[in-house]
Amino acid sequence: MSTTAEAPKRLTKKELTADHPTWCPGCGDFAVLAAFFKVIEKLQIPHEKICTLAGIGCSSRFPYFVNSHGVHFLHGRTLAFATGVSLSRPDLHVFAFGGDGDGYSIGGNHLDHIARKNVNLTYVVMDNFVYGLTKKQTSPTSPIGFKSKTDPTGAIDQPVNPMKKLVYGGATFVARTHAAQVKHMMDMFERAILHPGFSVVEVLSECVVFYPGAFDAANPRKGGEFETIDEKTGDGTPEDEARHDITDDVAAYRLAAQEFPGKFGVFYQAERPTKNDLEQKWIDASRAKTGNASAKDLLSARFDAMK
């Protein structure tokens, strides 16, 4: 996506702020919102071109808290909705937000398909390993043994591995961050926004009510360790050999297989034509073939062929 420097008026957090978030005090999603504001401020995207879309869940209330064109859509269908917006409006910067249930469970199939189609937009998942809005049911990322209202004796189903799912699905930018690491989160958001194609940032964002402490293992302030990915620089040194090649999907998969809490950073990035570009090419070729005929002339010619 391109950034526009000469916005008429500097866009700041003040203009971007809408209703006060209704999240519980301490909810990880506050930090995600703050980081989003900062990155938008830095990139100075024209205000009216920002489009924030979400499904249903605590995290999916995001668009109400951003003063921009926004949509609160259906549980699980945001990415399908966003496909329509992105493909028909190349002038917009499209952002989709949601939770682990919204994105990996009810919307799981849409995620695979938007990924392989490489639709140009940025998707942020606030993964809290639980269903927050509906008050503590097992989510697709709940670890085995997690006690919820639907698994009172502990979850028994193997959880989804979001990084594996995204790399396998064909997403062209896949990153992982932590809501307690604002700088890292901002860096991931910025890289995702600048990536041409379908970019996803998975944010471990704690639900302090229904799964407190879920991500302490990756939080140095809670005695954990926040380990970032050491990306290959291509400097030819022997140390570089051991670093992670973000263009290598097999290496990304291996990284994703590490035990929780695993690593944070960019797992995978690839350059592949976007569906936006491919469709536009076809539209341009079709228009050219008709000699940019009007709708009336096109219809008239087609009716003639049926006589």
Partner: protein, 605 residues
Amino acid sequence: MSSTTTSNSIDQAKTNSGGKGVELQNAVIRFAGNSQDGIQTIGGLLARLAGRSAREVMTYMTIPATISGGPSIFQVHLGSGEVLSAGDESDFLFAFYQHSYDNHISSLRAGGICIYDSDEVKEIQADRNAVHVALPLTSTVVEVLGGSARDRGKNIFVLGLVTQMFKLDREKIVGLISKQFGGKSEDVLRNALLAFDAGYAYPIGNLLSEDFVMQEGRGAQVDKVTTDGNTALVMGLLAGGVRYGAAYPITPWSSIMEQLRTELPKYGGLLVQAEDELAAVSTAIGFAYSGHLAVTGSSGPGLSLKMEALSYATMAELPLVVVNVQRGGPSTGMPTSVEQSDLLQAIYGSHGDCPRIVLAPKNVADCFYIAVEACRLAKEYSCPVFILSDMALSSRIEAFEQPDLAEFVHEHPLDLSARDTSFKPYPLDGRTHHAPPGSVMQGEKYPVVTGLEHDEWGHPSANPANHQKMTDRRRDKIKACATTLPLPEVYGDESGDALLIGWGSTWGPIREAVGRLNESGKKVAAMHFRHLHPMPNGLEEVFARYKHVIVIEMNDEGLYGYGQFATLLRARYCDPKIVSVCKTDGLNYKVRDIVTRVEERIANS
């Protein structure tokens, strides 16, 4: 219309035309074979010929349920007057195989003519009241074209034969064949013309006792558009200004999405093939939110999947055209059979109080006009508008005059004008016209479009009074639409024994039934609904003029004895004289069925 337009009209229409042969006002010709034989091709060519001869035409075909093909028929009803149905019975039967003969000889009217391939059909029912003509079709075509090409040539040979038998315009047909096969290799066209000429020259006259001539049409000599309902619907969507869409394949909806996928880019737009119907409707609503007029569609099961998102479109007040090419249900049901059992789903199928507009085309040409109207209403009332087509309309071919494009082509350019501080997406005193993303909001307050109940500005609100007001608002705009709708035409007696009510593809057979009932002295009329929800106002005055109001539908009478539209009419008018004639056998109504059942209804009450 001419009241002699019946399928048994050979006798009635016979006139001695001085050696030219028996003049036919109309004829029903059924080709029965396997789908691989290309009988659809000859049926289509005959229909197109009719369109070029100011004749009326309607076709009917069956599609085998398996991809590898199988028994299939194509029936063409050609007429020089008004043709309203595909014909109850055939006047001529061409049987390619024994199974074709066995299964379709009963469709031939008494005294009709059956021409069969004597290389394939070995047993005939000689005691039937029918003229049997044996023709060694397979071996004759082998002689003409050589062994390898014979399967391709049988159909065109028969077309030549039909052209000869009915003294159709040879030149025009050859032109159409050249148009159809001209794009392929030269061999293909040469073989087609060879087969045609052989059929045209075959001495069939020696085997028939009579010669036939199709009367030229009586209308003005303009070339008509000859096409099927799905194609006409696509043309209507394009004319109405649809530029974006999203869908998932399913019979019989698929050909609409296939055509849109190819056509829309020519108009600068796009159809997305989605991963499922949930995604399809969501992507289409995404297009609508972006400021475009968009379409989604499906058949049977696919519509069920779309229902959640369609209630969102009502709540968020986004315009959307939704096509349902109905087929036999429930569940996977009968994918290639006709039924009208999705009416109540179209109206009430989503959760919550969820008003939306539902329209149904009456014939192939009307698929175009209804689609244009659906586009206009979706924009005007900013809500989902359903088009209920059906399996029969989707595939049957009719000839009609080209619509006036100056009147029916509309564009809906993207409106990104700056919205001033008074902008409200959901004004209590006005209609919703969204500010699509990209519009500058001069008050610097950007709108959130939502499926939660909301106030005038779109803020979520669970305030009891607000919910009532917003519910009223969404309902009242659809009621306002009703006041703009014309009363459907009363066709037949202005008052009398019975008013026959229909909707959708039953228009032709019901109209023909009125003609026959009038002839037999019954005072009846028909009223056909294209606007099903809202329905037009003022119907009670029309109903009052008849002893019975009989609603004829292709759906089940349900637990309480009434079809789906009849149920609605009874709910609205509480009038016990509204009764139902229903059926669900997956077939179109035969005119004769309607006549009999209406007579029973009148006699029994």
